[in-house]
């Protein structure tokens, strides 16, 4: 009998919560970022991987075999200067088609935001060595000899080199570090903020984030894979150029609804 009373009470709660939801004056919603990829406009998914078919700005012909990257701290900016920071991060794994959309837990008020931004990689406060079990389990860490913390991006594949042979490349982005003196590492920040611009957030908003992969090789630095194809994590200058080229990689796609 007691249990029946509890069930009845809970059922009433279900109905009363319905009323409460409709009465709320300021609707809030979760925001989902959906990640899409292209090569100078041609859609890229993992179905396009493993075939040498793309030409970068330097005319190196290349394939993609692995592409995964980290984004963090999605932020919504209001016209009055107020910011809503959605803490957390997402490891986009294009290779395995995992985490291709990301919905931070907190809700935000619907409305017009003058900018939606996120951090490519981790800022230095968040880039804490070994702190995130899921990223550790995904072998996403950076060796302590390079400052520790985490990768920002791993892009790998093959390219046709100067002697017309297939060669592997590993375009890995991390915080730039000069480890000439192992006891005195010199860093330069290479995470960056991606600004998507004005977005109207309606209920259950889905914001498409587009990455033009070709941009990583293009602007302002014309990347030559024969020169910088692998062992780039400890290459300070290469990391700085990745940072420079990364500035125009992302853009806003469709926003639904």
């Amino acid at each position: 009998m007691k249990k029946l009373a509890v069930i009845l009470f809970l059922s009433v709660s279900v109905f009363s919560s319905c009323t409460e939801d409709t009465d709320e004056a300021l609707p809030t919603t979760q925001v989902t970022l959906k990640f899409a990829h292209n090569w100078n406009g041609a859609e890229v998914t993992n179905a396009n991987f493993n075939t040498i078919q793309y030409f970068n700005e330097n005319n190196d012909e290349l394939s993609l075999e692995k592409l995964r990257y980290l984004i963090s701290e999605v932020t919504l900016h209001k016209a009055n200067g107020e910011k809503i920071i959605l803490n957390g991060y997402n490891l986009v794994d294009v290779t395995n088609n995992q985490n291709m959309s990301y919905t931070p837990s907190p809700t935000v008020p619907v409305g017009t935001y003058t900018n939606v931004s996120f951090t490519f990689g981790f800022n230095n406060d968040d880039n804490i060595d070994g702190a995130y079990a899921d990223l550790n389990s995904a072998s996403w860490g950076v060796p302590a000899m390079l400052g520790g913390g985490y990768h920002y991006m791993q892009m790998e594949g093959k390219f046709i080199n100067n002697v017309a042979a297939e060669e592997g490349y590993a375009y890995h982005a991390i915080r730039a570090v000069d480890n000439t003196d192992p006891n005195n590492l010199v860093f330069q920040d290479t995470f960056f903020t991606v600004n998507l611009g004005t977005v109207i957030i309606r209920e259950n908003a889905e914001v498409e984030v587009k990455m033009n992969i070709a941009e990583w090789y293009k602007n302002p630095y014309t990347w030559n894979l024969n020169t910088w194809g692998s062992m780039l994590m400890q290459n300070f200058d290469a990391q700085v150029e990745m940072y420079n080229n990364g500035q125009n990689v992302f853009s806003l796609g469709s926003v639904n609804p």
Partner: protein, 354 residues
């Protein structure tokens, strides 16, 4: 909306609990938590335990008995342990294990430890099976291994003087079937956790590494030399494997397609699961086909023996030169570090012996 769903779920759970309470008292085996090493606890995700096969004292005990019992093979001569021996970190010291009919396989038996931390749950060198329970099903019927039928194995267990009671203790029923057999074996295998090597103790501050071992670790982590960490873990991924599939440059052409045979995708040809680097002191021979008898041969392969192919992993460097050509000193130090990942306590743990 979320709240609504929450309430509905709660009401449903209340209803479910009503019926549970009203039924007669059910036998519940004793829950048994896995002993997770401190570094695993601190650094990586929790172990995977299927909701329909929780760890229990009775289930693990039954699984252990089954693991060491030749009753599962057609002629009662081979147990799981025949090819997965505790002293070899649960692998076989022979290149290819020999089944009950004297037939050899074509792959080296995989070591069994830290299975609960294989988050993608793809097992075998080619990842052809999802879940540890399903993995345990295969060797029994494999014609070059135990060459039995599950029907026959289950009949023998049902007619055994001890097993019906052990199954009842483990699962609350004397019913025996292949699913329960593999559930019990999987429970035992999940207890096989190795996380107390010298290098672990070094990280915990209770052991000291030699200069050679320390230098070897630096080579391991150096992208321009060993660059082992991208696939084989690090201090923050103490499994010492990514549990993924790579072509590590063993062959220019493939006799065994590995993952490619399973997926049908030519881009996966020649890819095999990254093995853990723990317990290398006990797990020779090495590679999916056991082609290397010593760690020196393994290191020489990566240093100057790489073979090019269309699916060779991009992380294999200077393939056209055979590799990065480590110095002899670097090779020796790398080997010293690798051996510091061997866990003597694991292979001698009485809980894991017959």
């Amino acid at each position: 909306m979320c709240r609504k769903i929450g309430h509905i779920v709660f009401v449903f759970l209340m209803l479910a609990s009503c019926s549970k309470d009203d039924s007669t008292q059910q036998y519940v085996p004793t829950p048994m938590a896995l002993e997770v090493p401190p570094l695993f606890e601190e650094k990586i995700l929790a172990p995977i335990i299927p909701f329909d096969n929780p760890q229990t004292v009775e289930g693990v005990a039954l699984g252990k008995k089954l693991f060491f019992d030749p009753i599962l093979s057609a002629d009662n001569t081979q147990s799981c342990a025949s090819c997965h021996a505790p002293e070899n970190a649960f692998t076989d010291s022979d290149r290819f294990s020999v089944g009950i009919d004297g037939l050899e396989g074509n792959r080296n038996s995989m070591p069994i430890f830290n299975m609960a931390f294989n988050y993608d749950e793809k097992f075998f060198w080619d990842g052809r099976v999802f879940s540890l329970e399903r993995q345990a099903k295969q060797p029994v019927e494999n014609p070059i291994e135990m060459h039995n039928t599950w029907s026959n194995a289950v009949t023998q267990l049902r007619n055994h003087e001890e097993y019906p009671e052990l199954f009842e203790r483990a699962f609350g029923s004397t019913m025996i079937n292949a699913n329960l057999v593999t559930k019990a074996i999987a429970q035992f295998e999940r207890t096989l956790i190795s996380g107390n090597a010298k290098f672990d103790r070094y990280l915990l501050g209770t052991a000291t590494l030699t200069p050679e071992e320390l230098n070897g670790f630096n080579i391991f982590m150096d992208e321009a030399r060993g660059d082992c960490f991208h696939c084989h873990g690090s201090i923050n991924n103490p499994l010492w494997t990514d549990n993924l599939f790579h072509n590590n440059g063993l062959d220019a052409t493939f006799i065994d397609l590995g993952l490619g045979e399973v997926t049908g995708d030519p881009a996966d040809n020649g890819k095999f699961k990254t093995p853990s680097l723990r317990n290398l002191a006990y797990t020779a021979p090495y590679m999916h086909d056991g082609r290397f008898n010593t760690l020196d041969e393994v290191i020489n392969h990566y240093s100057e023996g790489l073979q090019n192919s269309s699916t060779v992993d991009p992380l294999m460097k200077k393939v056209d030169e055979g590799g990065v050509h480590l110095t002899n000193q670097d090779k020796a130090d790398l080997k010293a570090f690798l051996l510091s990942l061997s866990d003597e306590e694991f292979i001698n743990n009485p809980a894991f012996q017959n």
